[in-house]
Each structure stands twice: as structure tokens, then as C-alpha cells.
Symmetry: C2
Subunit: 733 residues, 2 copies
Amino acid sequence: MSYRTKICSALLLLIGLAGQGVLGAGLDDLTMIDNAEKVAPGIWRITIGDVSSELRYTDYAAAPPKMEALNAKSDLVYPFAEDPLSFYKSPDNRIMIRIPAAKKESLFGFGLQLDGIKKTKKVLDLNVDHWSKGGGRTHAPVPFYISSKGYGVFFNTGRFLKAYVQTSNRKDSPNLPKPVDRNPVKREPGAPGWSSMPDSDAVEAQIVGKGMEVLVFAGDDLQDIVARYNLYCGGGALPPLWGLGFWHRVPAWFNADKCNKEVALFEEKGFPLDVLGLEPGWQTYSYPCTFEWQKLRFPDPAAFSGNLLKKGIRLNLWENPYISPEGELYEPMYPLSGSHTVWLGIVPDYTLPEARKLLADQHKREHLAIGVSGYKLDEVDGYDKWLWPDHATFPSGTSAETMRQAYGLLIQNAVFKDLFKANNQRTYGQIRSSNGAASGYPYVLYSDSYNHGQYITGLSAASLSGILWTPEVRQAKTDREWLNRIQTVCFSPLAQLNGWASGKKPWSYESVVDEVQAVVELRMRLLPYLYTAFSAYQQQGIPPVRAMILEQGFQLEQSVAKQGKLDGVYNPYEEAKVVEKTDQFMFGPSILVAPFYDKQHSKRTVILPPGNWYDFYTGELAGNGKTITVEADGRMPLFVKEGTLIPMLAENITNSRDAYGMPLEVRHYGKTGGSFDLYEDDGKTFDYEQGAYRIRTLTVSKKDNGFQGSETISRDEAPALFGPVQTWSFMTK
Amino acid sequence: MSYRTKICSALLLLIGLAGQGVLGAGLDDLTMIDNAEKVAPGIWRITIGDVSSELRYTDYAAAPPKMEALNAKSDLVYPFAEDPLSFYKSPDNRIMIRIPAAKKESLFGFGLQLDGIKKTKKVLDLNVDHWSKGGGRTHAPVPFYISSKGYGVFFNTGRFLKAYVQTSNRKDSPNLPKPVDRNPVKREPGAPGWSSMPDSDAVEAQIVGKGMEVLVFAGDDLQDIVARYNLYCGGGALPPLWGLGFWHRVPAWFNADKCNKEVALFEEKGFPLDVLGLEPGWQTYSYPCTFEWQKLRFPDPAAFSGNLLKKGIRLNLWENPYISPEGELYEPMYPLSGSHTVWLGIVPDYTLPEARKLLADQHKREHLAIGVSGYKLDEVDGYDKWLWPDHATFPSGTSAETMRQAYGLLIQNAVFKDLFKANNQRTYGQIRSSNGAASGYPYVLYSDSYNHGQYITGLSAASLSGILWTPEVRQAKTDREWLNRIQTVCFSPLAQLNGWASGKKPWSYESVVDEVQAVVELRMRLLPYLYTAFSAYQQQGIPPVRAMILEQGFQLEQSVAKQGKLDGVYNPYEEAKVVEKTDQFMFGPSILVAPFYDKQHSKRTVILPPGNWYDFYTGELAGNGKTITVEADGRMPLFVKEGTLIPMLAENITNSRDAYGMPLEVRHYGKTGGSFDLYEDDGKTFDYEQGAYRIRTLTVSKKDNGFQGSETISRDEAPALFGPVQTWSFMTK
């Protein structure tokens, strides 16, 4: 047909580096991709068009690919050898890549999607935005998905990406299903009903741009696919030990005196506190910002910070990146900023080394020099009505859409590398938006959305895309909700109470004060276990807190589709409702966490994967491959795998510095022996990158009618962080 | 600065037909537009880039510009002579046009926006979509707005358009406000507070494409701006008289027998009925469709239709445009359709004359030949998950996004022009999506969204953008809601009960049967008045049902912004809430309608503009330029302007054919005389376009202590439609 010939001719002019080939009957306006380039075991790179002027997220990763770890992995077959990818480039610069998918294949991921991790039969606009309300827009719309068939796809492009995930059907597809009449005079019993979403045979994803890089990942299982993605992006972040303690943010209008009084209250109550977070009011001007101390509130910032540090408490400073005309950075940054303002502040172009240097120098002088430990980097996400428009221009020539997609990544890159890494000082902080290739950054995402169930889903979603997420606590309508939220956040990457507007303190809800303190103390006692989990993220790419689908034996298909019933107003298309099971997750290698939340505030079900699982507190067998119901007793429901060892601090502490040298209690669960490789380093510098870390292998083996424990040093390149094992607790009787 | 020089050089290569000029300090990466071309009195055309391959909505209007009517209008000054428009074209094909706007300027419109008509400080994605949930996406996202400063702007492009309506601020703008610190140590009393939405000085709107045409409209007032827009788009639609009667749609599974029984029930109850609407099941296959009669349900369609026509009842057929492989059109249409399916049906490319002819021929043979009166053209709007993807290709080379924006327009064009106009037979129907330049099409938009308050807002919104809207009724939770909804729809362009899924009939809610029948009968009696209102739409571009802001003297600024209160969870940005007054509207030249709805189901306020307004039913003075409260008495609150004449049928009728020749009652309201030019034609053909219409001038003047009425023929080029005036009712005592 003539139009096809025309389109093909156009394509021949437009195709770039990607391979050329002719697909089977029907798909002949597409170009087959047959030259995927292997870049590491189980990782292939595809390039479509000209990517030289396009931002690739991997160019702004925290570290280069961890080739040593990747090369130690199994070599695998290219997942699309049989059924190749193809692409189309339109005359108006639209690039579409088509990735085959089978009918019964489930796809998961695409970043911090708070409405669920399974993305089959959805269209996603993967644009950075202020909230996650479905449809793809979210704080961290990482364009990476994994398939139940055992591969992953990463669109390594800083463009707005629209993904049609098993929704579109080409008319010439050999797999095109036969339509079902929606209004038959009579439907035969058992015949399939009409569906508003017929099966599709592909993911079709598109951008407007000159070129696109796509990376394909294989893996031994889903966890291995995610691990390879993280390793390719430089490995996971390893926070300083203090970052894993308890965080508290005070109201925006607090001054030094009020802060000191708040800290005194923590001391008085013996409540853990590692990091005190200051909100915008610490600056002379905020929204937009100066990054300069407001001396009317903090007359002597150095003394203020120094006094806190003496108690082991670190300062974390809130900022957004938009610079006020009142700030010293405004004038030098002006020519290095974009055409448009945000809240009337200029927007630095952090692809420019000069802009990064200006920021790093000022922050080092004003903050790091007096002991500031890190930042909460806010407001880099949207909405459209607040942010620079999609047609804004930036001095580097980077497009406004790319700047929006990558701004969170760029500012993590600038602050982490130019400020902290250059100073060999680890940091841990918060970031309001992120994107692909971010796993190496010690920044944790957060939101204003505040739905507890969705916040729990966020822990699973983040783990599939190389990002960290905190379901931070702000306020609650009931004491029970408060307790449930505090419990959840204590089993997340960053345990924080954010009272910036509410002024709430951990003990603000009277009837649950003891339970709240108990779970925060448990978080502190678990530091050795959690720190090791983060080292596995750093060294092997395994997310420290993660979705159940990354566990061996967990059924991928926990989602239930309930057939919809016709209603002219409420369901005119008889749409099915999909219910996913994302309200439980893994914390570290072996602990399954099942929080109470929302309507399931005091009773809920838990799916225990195959194998014996034990109650964390009692050591009793909880079940094996079945669904159980748990009821609230004031403690977070926690279940531990057969043969697991959990290294804990022997005593409660109120600050992570007390963990240094503290003896350990090692708990053991189940009927078989096991071992645990405890990771230790100095807890604060990057010396571990030069090998300065230590591995202590804890082992429990059968002896007579019981067990015995032992510890050996497997690697001895750094001093011990924690003390020796004081107690071996064999929990299962 | 070097980057500006670079961008400017790029621009010099890219600028198309638009004028070149250098703006004042600061905006020097923009190109000034100084060559707007006058195309009619008060109308100017601007062309940016190359529009030769871009779809302009006006190319698919129902008729060419009504130059005679336009040339009779006042000549006006170009609104941007002092403060010119400018544009920017990026290396990646993004075109942005910048339109200055003042701080206190209010902008209204942008199509069928059910969340409100005022669009100041909003970002709108003007994409066709299935629902209107704010943010711009809606069934008819017409890219046309009007300003309180007395001009209108129409983006005449079939591209997705993103409009930053007074939200963005360039850093180099001479009008850039000074930021307000969000967290001052002390705020001076009376000093302005921080706002998340600082004032902006422009609308910045952008597309990705090669070129864009923009039309600027001036006008004597807001109504005149809208009228000029409609006249430039070919004038408004004039439905056949029967189209303004009562419509009833039966369930999708109904057969001929069930339909006939339903009609018999209407006869038995003496309930008006002009059009019977069949839903998908009349076809052999639906979703996708065949457009062929399902003979198991309708064994003899010609006899079925003929028997209804004998009673004066016309058939309207539901269809969506996606063609089933089971249909005779599938094979010939296949090469004329896009690359992707919708619900597994092919998608015809109706920019191609061959595709239009295939459709028109089949429809003429199968439907028109047996008396079918028109169509409900469904499903041309979205969602993304159902429609063809944005990267689909079409044989004409039209982009998928343009096809999506214009599909409703294209199918209206095909069916109206190739089928009905070619047959000199007027039609009236429904359409699920529309866009710019659609005023000449006799198709009324509708939705599944079903919020009654928003449905009323839709009547105002549609009137600003050359489209028609029906708040059709489907079901209700209470009898009162049912009555209120029926009352609203009777004062809309299309009075329809749609029972396709609910099976509801007008009398389904027992306690309000009489009130329901009364308001439908009132609708029928108002046919002479309403038909004249539509002739003013056709001839002068004045919307027959319209927003209050199009009335002289109505305060534009009825919207109230309530200052937001800080809440860390529910309002972290202290956002103000804007409440608009869009729950009343004008019906024809002189009747103000104020429906009961939602929580205001039996008591509400009404704003009466300056001038005396009278109660329609009693003739009593209701007020002058003030807000009154009305309480439900079973009737729709209606208010009539001072000196108004309302021509009505003298008696109740159940079908519009009984209006032919029926004597009139003319009601007069107020203390002064007045006149009304009653429009008449044959009610069913396009002969009026050749001048075959009649104008009867009805006049009321003072006589002695009272009034007297008289009628004269001002134009006599067609026989009378209605009978002579039987009664002059002077309502105000």
C-alpha cells in the first residue's frame, strides 16, 4: 500500500544506530532491532536514533557500573532473541519502541507508583510530578520495568516517556484477538464476555526526541534482575550508620532555643534521636531560598550545631533549589539558570559544572564547615502550575522536559558528589523527586499524599526501581493510626517523624506512648542487621527493603481481578477492579513485615511464602506457604525465615554512636542452622570503597539436642564497628 | 550571554511566516510577532512556522466563515498593538506562543471544562479525553479563551496544546513580582502573605509541531467575541424542529417489540416523545461495530422505522466508529484505517475522502433510506488505555495526536456533510468529543461523569467555545434528584433521558411524575422561543444556551478565593480555594435559569444582573441587580428580563409535528414594551441557507393604562411554521 511505502522511505532516512531489518507480515512500518549490544553479563544496550544530545540517566549515576560484581554473575541469553524488539520514528520526532509481551505476562515497576506495582494493561505518562495518583506521574517515575517472564527493560532517556503497557493492539498483529460482541442476543454459557481491555501483545513506549537508549536486563530471578540494574547504575547507597537512627523534623518557625528545648524533651524521655531536621525557616528567605542562616532565629549556627553534635545529634537542613534575589548566590547563578522562575526564584542548571561549584562552595562554607550532616531537597517535582514550563530554556541547551525529569537526579548528583563525596563524608537525606540510575544516591523519597496503605505500597514500588522511600509520619486522626504509621516508618529506609506543620512529637498520642517508644527502640537495636542489609544494596544491588515479588517462592499473581458489573453511571464499561497484595514487604534479608493500616488497623491477613516462617517476638512457627490472620497486640507483625540469624544490639540505645562497640544479641529462628555475614566499617566515610570493611560470619549449627553459635572473621580490613556477640538467643523452642 | 546568542541563531533558522522583531530587555530569546493579518473585522490571523502539513480545525468547519455577518460588525483595534505577542521555537520542534496578560485579568473558556469556566492561574493539557477532571483534558478541549479585557485567542491547531494560563514567570520579565518570604520571623500587619501561585504576566501555550496558526478576536463585549468566533467558524448549528423535542434512549438489549411497547407507554401517558434512541444492540456486532441491523432483534428495520415515523417519532442510532471484522465495511476500510485498533476494530482515517464515502454510502443505504434521523457518535474521546496510541500511524500521514484531537470533528464533518447535507436533510445528534471550529455541527456533547453541578457548569462552558452540551439524565438516587436533573436537561440544547443501562423512563420516580411531565411540556411549549434562539446561533453566532458572563452587566468576577490554611497533610501549600458561580445560565435571549442540584436540591441563591427580572410563572418582579434565594415548588426557577416577549405554543403537545400551525401564546414581562423577531422556516431542510425563512415581528407597546400586542411580517420568504398569535399574556400586573 502506498502509505506504507511512504512511511518506510521516511524511516530509512531517519533510522540511526539501531539495526535494520524487516519484520514479518503486517508490522512493516516498524524497523526490527537486531543489534542489541551486550555491555555486561545479562545486560544489553539498544540505541535508536542519535542520542548524543539526549540526557541518559546513567550519565548522572552516583558511580560507574560495578563491573566486578556484574562479571561475577551468570551469563544469560538475550530475552528477545526469538521475538525481536522494533521501533518507529515519525517525521515529527516521535520515537516508539515496541517490546513484545505475552498475554499472561505480568509487568511490574515504573518507579514510585503508589497505586500499585503491577502495571499490566495500563497507560503510563512517566513524568515527574508532585503526587502519585495513578497514570504514571509521580515523584520518581523511573522508566524501568521487570517481567514475570524474567527480564527487565530500562528506558535510559531523560524525556517524558509514555508507555502503553499491554494496552495497544496493532491491526496487523499476528496475535490480534478476535473481538467479542458486547451486546449479543444470546451469549453461550461459558463463552468469554466482552472486555473494555482486550489482551495486547506488546509494550509500546514513546518519546519525542532525537534518540533513545534502552537497556535490557536478564537475571536468574526477579531479584537478580533488579540487582543487575542497580549494579549497572553503580550499586546501591550505603548511608552512614547514624542515618539509620531516628529522625525528627521540627516546625518551620522554630528557632535555636525551641530546637534545644525539643532535644531536651527527647533526652528527658529517653527517646532515640539521631537527626534533627530544620524546615525552611532556618534561612533568611525561603520559597525561594537563600541557603543562608536566619540569624534572628539561629544567632550562632556553629555553636548550635556543635552543641547538638556533642550529644551525637546531627542537623539536616531543608531547602528547595530555587534561589531568592535576596541570596548571595542569585547574582552569580543568574546566567547559569533557566528562562523561567519557580516561586519567583531562579532555577540553576545543574548540568553545568560552574553551577554545581557555586552551590557546593556556598554549602560547604555555610553548612558543612559547622557540622551540618545533609539536606532535605524539596520541591524538585512539580506540579506544572509551580514548576518551570515545558518550553523553558536552560543555558546548557538541555530541554525543559529533560530538566524536569532529571532535576532530582541532578541535584542529588551535585550535592552528593561535589559536596559530600569530595569531602569523604557520608550523608543521608531526603529528595522530592528522582529517576533512573539513582540507586547510588543516599537520598530517600517522600510525599505529601499521606495515604498509609499507599505509603506501604511505596516501599515495594521503590525497591523495583533503585530508589528509597520513607512513609514519614506527620500526624494522625487516632492514637492507633499514629502507632501504626510509626511502626511502618521504623521498618523503612528512613525512620522519621516530620512535624514541620503539625508540631507533633513521638509521644503526642498518649495512649500509645509506650508502644511507639518500643518500636523505635527495636529499630535502633536492629541497626547491625539493617546496616548489613544496606551493604548488600551497595555491594550486590539487593534492595534493603523490598517487594515480596523479589522473594523466591512468592506467588507473583496476588492481584485479583473482580469482574465489573454494568452500571450506566458508576461502571458503564463493566471494568474489572484489580486488587493487589502490596501491604507486606521484606526488611533486610529475612524479616517479613506486615503493618496494620487504614481499615486493617488492628486485624489483617499475611501471606507467608513457602518455607517455615516464625514469629519474630516468640520464635513460634507462624506458618508455611499460607495466608494467616494477625491481630494487633501493640507490636508490628514480623515474621522470620527458617534458619535465620538476626544480629541486634544487646541493649536499647538512644543514639547511634552508642552502637559503636556495643555487644550483640544474635537471635536464631527455626529448626535448622544458618549463618549471617555481618558487615562493619567506620560507619561514616567512603573508605569502604577502597576495601576498608570487615565481615564477621555468625554461624548457628546443631549441637546435641540444641544449637550453638559461633563467630569468625571472614574479612578483616577495618576495625569492628559493634562489640562481640554477648548472647545467642535460640528463639524457636 | 553566549547561550542566548546560540538560541537566537537557532531561531533565525527556524522562524517561519511570523514577523521578526526584537523585544525589549530580557525577553530576547523570543521573537516578536508584529505581522498579525486582519482576516475580518475584529479578527486577525498569526502564523508561526510551517502550517502546510498541520491540521487546522477551521479546515474542517461545517461551513466557511460567514463573512457577510462579520463584515456588518464594527471594526476594532488589534488588542495586542501595545504589548505584542511573541514566540519561541525549540530545536526539538516545540513551538511556544506568549500572550501578555495583566495581573487582574480573568480568562475564561478552553472548551468543555466541567470544573469551571475561569482558567486564570491554571495549567491546561488541552487533550481530548474521556472525562473532564480538571487539568484541561476533556471531551472537547477547545483551545479558545476570552479575556475580561475584551479579546479572544483561538489556537487553530490539531496538536495537543499545553497552556500555562497566568502561571509562569520569566526571570527576565519587566513585570516580575518581588518574592514574599514564606517563613518570616515576623510579618508586618497588612503585608501580603506568601502564595504558592504568584501573579504572572502571560499565557504561554505550546505544541510540538512544525507550525501553528493562532486567531485573535476582538469584540464589543464578551458575547460579541464569542459570536465572531462562531461566525468565523461558519455560524452556529440550526437543528431541525423535532431535534428540540423530547428524546428517550432505550436499553442496549431492546428489540423492536420492546421499543414499540415503550413508545406505547409514552402514548398511554400522553408524554412528549420526538426521538427514540437505540443503543449498540441494534447492530449485528458492537464494540467494535458493523453498522448493520441485528435482524434477530429488528427483523424489519424499514417497517419498524416507518411505523414510528407515522407517529412523528424519529430513530437515532448509537454507533462508535471502530469497525468490526464482521462488518461489510471492514475489508474496504482496512487500507484506509490507522495502524492500531480500538477494541479490536479498525479506525478509519476520515481525513480521506474515500473513507468518508464508504461510510456515507453504507449509512445512506442502511439507515437514511429507511428514515433514520441521525446518530449518537460515541467513544471518539479516549481514555488512552482504549484509544489508539499517540504513536499510531494513519494512511493520510496525519499524526495520531492530531487524529485524536480532531476525530470528533472529522466524524461530525463526514456524517453531517457527506450524508445529511448532501441529502438536504437536517439532523440532530450526539457526539462524544469535539474541538475547535465546531459551532456549525448539529451535534451535542455528553459525558459519563454525571455530577449534576458540573453538568450545569458544562452549559456555561460549552457556550464559550462554539459547542453544545446536554446534561442528559440516566438515573437518580432520589425522586428529587430525578426531578432536578430532568428540569436541567429541559433547559439545555438537547432534552434527553438516556436509559441505555438503567432502563429508566420519565415516570420511573413516582412522587415527581407530575412535575416531570410539566417541565417537559413546558419545554415543548417553548419551541417557538427556542427555535428562534437557535436561528440567532446560526445567523449571528449567539449561543442559544449560555454563560452569564456573556450577558451585559453580569459581574465577571463572581468567583471567590478563600485563603487557605496551613495543614501539613491536607493543605501543605496553603492553597486558596476558588468557588465559581456557574450554577445559573441563560436560555435563549431572555430567560435566566437557576436549577436546583446536589446539596442545593431545594433551596439556592440566584444572582440577578442589573435591570428588572421577573418570575416566569407569575410575572412578579423578582429583583434587580441583587442576589435572591429561591425555594423549590416543583418548578424550575426561571427569570425573565424587563420588556421581554416569550412566544410559546398555545397548548401542550406531545410531538413537534403538532407545533406546525399551532397558534401561539405570547407572554410579556415587565413595565416596558418590547419586541421579538420570531424565526420560521420549514424546520427540516437546509433551504434556509438560500434565504427560505420568515421573520414575524411580535411587538408589545403601551396602550392606555395597559399593553397591547401586534404581529407583523418582516420577512416573507417561507410559509409560516407556527399559527397566528392567539393570546397576548401580560404577565406583570
